[in-house]
C-alpha cells in the first residue's frame, strides 16, 4: 500500500513518459542521491572510500556501459577490460602530449577513442551472434592487452611499462583526498546514468531493444541492424572508456596493463548479469554486489571473532562468492533488478493480501 500509483493522475504524455513517473520512485531516488552526496562523505572513512566506494562508482559506470550493449542491444562482449584500457591509455596520452589539457576533456577524448575502437571491434557483430561474438570480442581483449604492453609509444616509453599520474587537477583544485575523488566519480556517474536512462527510453534505445528481441522484425520496421548494433557498441564503449580513464587516473593513479586484463572483463560482465540485463538499476546493484561482497566476506571472520589464517580467508572468500553467484542465478536468472521489480509489485499490496 506504500508503493502504488493510485491517485497520481497524469494529465500529459510528458508526465507519463517521465523517467520516474511514480512519486515514490522519485522520493526513493532523491534519498539515494542524498545518501550518495551528503551522508556517505560525512560518515565514512578513508579506507572505505579507497576500498569500496570509489571502485564501486567507477565499476558501476563500466557496468552501466556494458549493460547498454549486452542488456539493451543483446550483443555479448568480453572486451570490457580492453576498452577500459583504451580509455585509460588514451587519457594518459592526451594528458601528457597536450600540456595543460583539462583532465575532464582528456577523459571525454579518451571516451571518444574508446568509441572508435569499440566500433571497430563491434563490426563482427554484423555477421555473428551470441557466443561467437563473445569470442570475437575476446580477441579485442587479447590484442589490446598485447598492444599496451608491447608498444612503448602508448606508455610514453616508461621503462617498466607502468604508468603513474599525479592527482587530477581541475580549475586549480587537486582531487587528492578520497572524499573529493569520490564526489568527482559520483558526479560523473550520475550524469552518465541520466544520459543512459534518456537514451534507452527514446528512439535509439527502442531500436537497440528491438534488435535484441527480434532482429528480423526490427529490420522490417526499418531499423538497420548495422546502425543499431554499432551505435550500441559506440555508446557502450564511450561509457567504458571514461570508466577506464577514471579507474587509471582517479582510483589507481599508477597502473600497468595487468590492471585491465581479462579478469576485469569477466567481473564487469558478471556485474551486468547478476545485476540484471537491460536495467540501469541492475548495473548499480551488480557493481555493489561484486565489489562489496568480497570485502565483506573478507572482514566477516574478524568481526565475529573467529581466528582464521589469511590464506584460508581468501580461499573461503572465493568459495562463498562463487556459491552466492550460482545461488543468485538459480533463484533469479534475470538478476537482482528483477528481484527489485518483483519486490515493488509485492509492495503495491502489502500488507494486505490483495
Amino acid at each position: 500500500m506504500f508503493y502504488r500509483e493510485a491517485g497520481q493522475f497524469k494529465t500529459s504524455y510528458t508526465a507519463d513518459q517521465a523517467a520516474f513517473p511514480i512519486a515514490q520512485d522519485r522520493i526513493f531516488i532523491a534519498i539515494w542521491l542524498f545518501i550518495g552526496f551528503v551522508a556517505v562523505p560525512l560518515l565514512s572513512n578513508e579506507y572505505l572510500f579507497r576500498a569500496i566506494f570509489i571502485p564501486f562508482l567507477i565499476l558501476a559506470l563500466a557496468a552501466l556501459g556494458l549493460n547498454l550493449l549486452v542488456g539493451y542491444c543483446g550483443q555479448v562482449s568480453l572486451g570490457t577490460g580492453a576498452f577500459m584500457a583504451v580509455g585509460a591509455y588514451a587519457a594518459y596520452n592526451f594528458w601528457t602530449r597536450i600540456p595543460g589539457l583539462n583532465p575532464l576533456v582528456a577523459f571525454m577524448l579518451a571516451g571518444g577513442v574508446a568509441t572508435i575502437v569499440g566500433i571497430l571491434f563491434g563490426i563482427p557483430s554484423l555477421r555473428i551472434k551470441g557466443f561467437y561474438l563473445a569470442v570475437a570480442t575476446l580477441a579485442a581483449q587479447f590484442f589490446l592487452d598485447w598492444v599496451f604492453s608491447r608498444i612503448g609509444w602508448f606508455t610514453n616509453y616508461t621503462p617498466s611499462g607502468s604508468i603513474a599520474v599525479p592527482p587530477v587537477e581541475l580549475f586549480g583544485f587537486a582531487f587528492a583526498s578520497p572524499v573529493s575523488k569520490y564526489l568527482l566519480c559520483l558526479t560523473i556517474l550520475v550524469l552518465f546514468a541520466v544520459v543512459a536512462k534518456n537514451i534507452v527510453r527514446g528512439r535509439i534505445g527502442r531500436s537497440w531493444m528491438a534488435t535484441r528481441d527480434m532482429d528480423v522484425a526490427a529490420e522490417i520496421i526499418g531499423i538497420r541492424p548495422m546502425y543499431a548494433k554499432l551505435s550500441a557498441f559506440a555508446v557502450s564503449s564511450f561509457f567504458i572508456g571514461v570508466a577506464g580513464a577514471l579507474w587509471g587516473f582517479v582510483h589507481l593513479e599508477s597502473w600497468e596493463p595487468l590492471a585491465f586484463d581479462i579478469n576485469r572483463s569477466f567481473s564487469i560482465l558478471f556485474m551486468v548479469i547478476i545485476g540484471g540485463l537491460g536495467s540501469i538499476m541492475g548495473a548499480f546493484l551488480g557493481a555493489a554486489f561484486i565489489t562489496v561482497l568480497p570485502l565483506f566476506l573478507n572482514q566477516l571472520p574478524t568481526w565475529i571473532g573467529i581466528e582464521v589464517s589469511t590464506a584460508m580467508i581468501s580461499h573461503i572468500e572465493f568459495m562463498i562468492f562463487g556459491a552466492l553467484i550460482i545461488f543468485f542465478l538459480a533463484v533469479e536468472p534475470l538478476g537482482m533488478a528483477r528481484m527489485w521489480r518483483i519486490g515493488k509489485e509485492k509492495l503495491r499490496l502489502w500488507p494486505f493480501p490483495y
Binding site: T14, A210, I221
Partner: protein
C-alpha cells in the same frame, strides 16, 4: 460483400518472380498485381510459397529472377529498410513482437523511421527529442484506441495472451502508417470471437486509412468474406487469381486446395 471502394491502379506488381533455395523451388514465374485500396488474399496449401511471396515483397528474400514494381519503381529486389521507408509494413506468422518491451514501446518502435531527433537531444531527452516523443505518442495512442488495447499499454508483450499479441503486432505495423500492409496469417490459432475482432480491424484499416492489404489466411470463411480478390498458390505456382466466387469455382483450385465443397 458490397463493393463500395473504388479500386485504384496497381500499387505493386510482380513480374515473373522465381525464388529457389538450392534445389528447392519456392516460387516459379509468379506474376501478380496488387491494386490500390484492395484486400488481396493469398491462399494455398502448406509450403505453397505464400510466406516466401511476402518475404520477396518486403525484401527479406531476394528473388533469383523477375522484378518487383512498387509505386512505379521497378527493382530486381527490395531491401527491408527501403520497403519500410516506402510504406510497406507487415506482421508475421509466428508473432515477432519485441518480447522484452511494453505494448506502448512496441508500437512506438513501429514509428522509428518517422523520428529524426539527433543523438544529442536524445541524450538529454529534452527539446527536439521530447517534442518528438510526445508528438508520436499521440499517434500511437490513436492506434491503441483504434485497436482497443488501452488497458494493456504498459504491459510487457511477453505476458499477453496470443490473441492480444497478434493485435499488438497489427498495431506496430499500423504505426508506420503503411500504404501496403502484409499480414501473414493474422488469424491463425484464434477462436471465433478473436477472428471476428481481427476481421473487423482489417476491414476498418482498409476502409478508414485506405491501406492496401495483402493477407495470407487459411480460414476460407474469412478469406471469402474479407477479400476483394484471391490468389491461389500451389507448389510455388500461381493456379488461380480472381474474385472469391471465381476462385471458389475454379477446377484447379478445388483439386489442389479447397476440396469438393458440399
Amino acid at each position: 460483400m458490397a463493393q463500395t471502394r473504388a479500386l485504384g491502379e496497381p500499387i505493386l506488381s510482380m513480374d515473373e518472380i522465381s525464388l529457389s533455395f538450392g534445389g528447392v523451388k519456392a516460387l516459379t514465374d509468379i506474376s501478380l498485381h496488387v491494386r490500390e485500396h484492395e484486400i488481396l488474399a493469398i491462399i494455398g496449401p502448406n509450403g505453397a510459397g505464400k510466406s516466401s511471396l511476402l518475404n520477396v515483397i518486403n525484401g527479406v528474400y531476394h528473388p533469383n529472377r523477375g522484378s518487383v514494381t512498387y509505386k512505379g519503381e521497378t527493382r530486381a529486389q527490395m531491401r527491408p529498410h527501403v520497403a519500410a521507408s516506402q510504406g510497406i509494413a507487415r506482421t508475421f506468422q509466428n508473432i515477432a513482437l519485441f518480447k522484452g518491451m511494453s505494448v506502448l514501446d512496441n508500437i512506438m518502435t513501429g514509428r522509428t523511421l518517422k523520428m529524426h531527433a539527433g543523438f544529442f537531444w536524445q541524450c538529454l531527452y529534452y527539446g527536439k527529442a521530447l517534442n518528438e516523443e510526445i508528438e508520436h505518442r499521440h499517434k500511437v495512442e490513436e492506434i491503441i484506441d483504434f485497436l482497443q488495447i488501452e488497458s494493456i499499454r504498459k504491459t510487457l508483450v511477453g505476458r499477453l495472451p496470443y490473441g492480444l499479441q497478434k493485435r499488438v503486432e497489427l498495431g506496430r505495423a499500423l504505426a508506420a502508417e503503411p500504404d501496403l500492409l502484409l499480414l501473414d496469417e493474422p488469424m491463425a490459432g484464434m477462436n471465433i470471437e478473436e477472428k471476428e475482432d481481427m476481421s473487423r480491424f482489417v476491414l476498418d484499416v482498409n476502409d478508414e486509412f485506405g491501406t492496401t492489404i495483402v493477407l495470407i489466411e487459411h480460414d476460407m470463411g474469412v478469406v471469402m468474406d474479407l477479400s476483394d480478390r484471391v490468389i491461389v498458390l500451389d507448389y510455388g505456382r500461381k493456379i488461380g487469381d480472381g474474385t472469391p466466387d471465381e476462385v471458389r469455382n475454379n477446377k484447379e483450385v478445388i483439386d489442389a486446395y479447397l476440396g469438393v465443397s458440399s
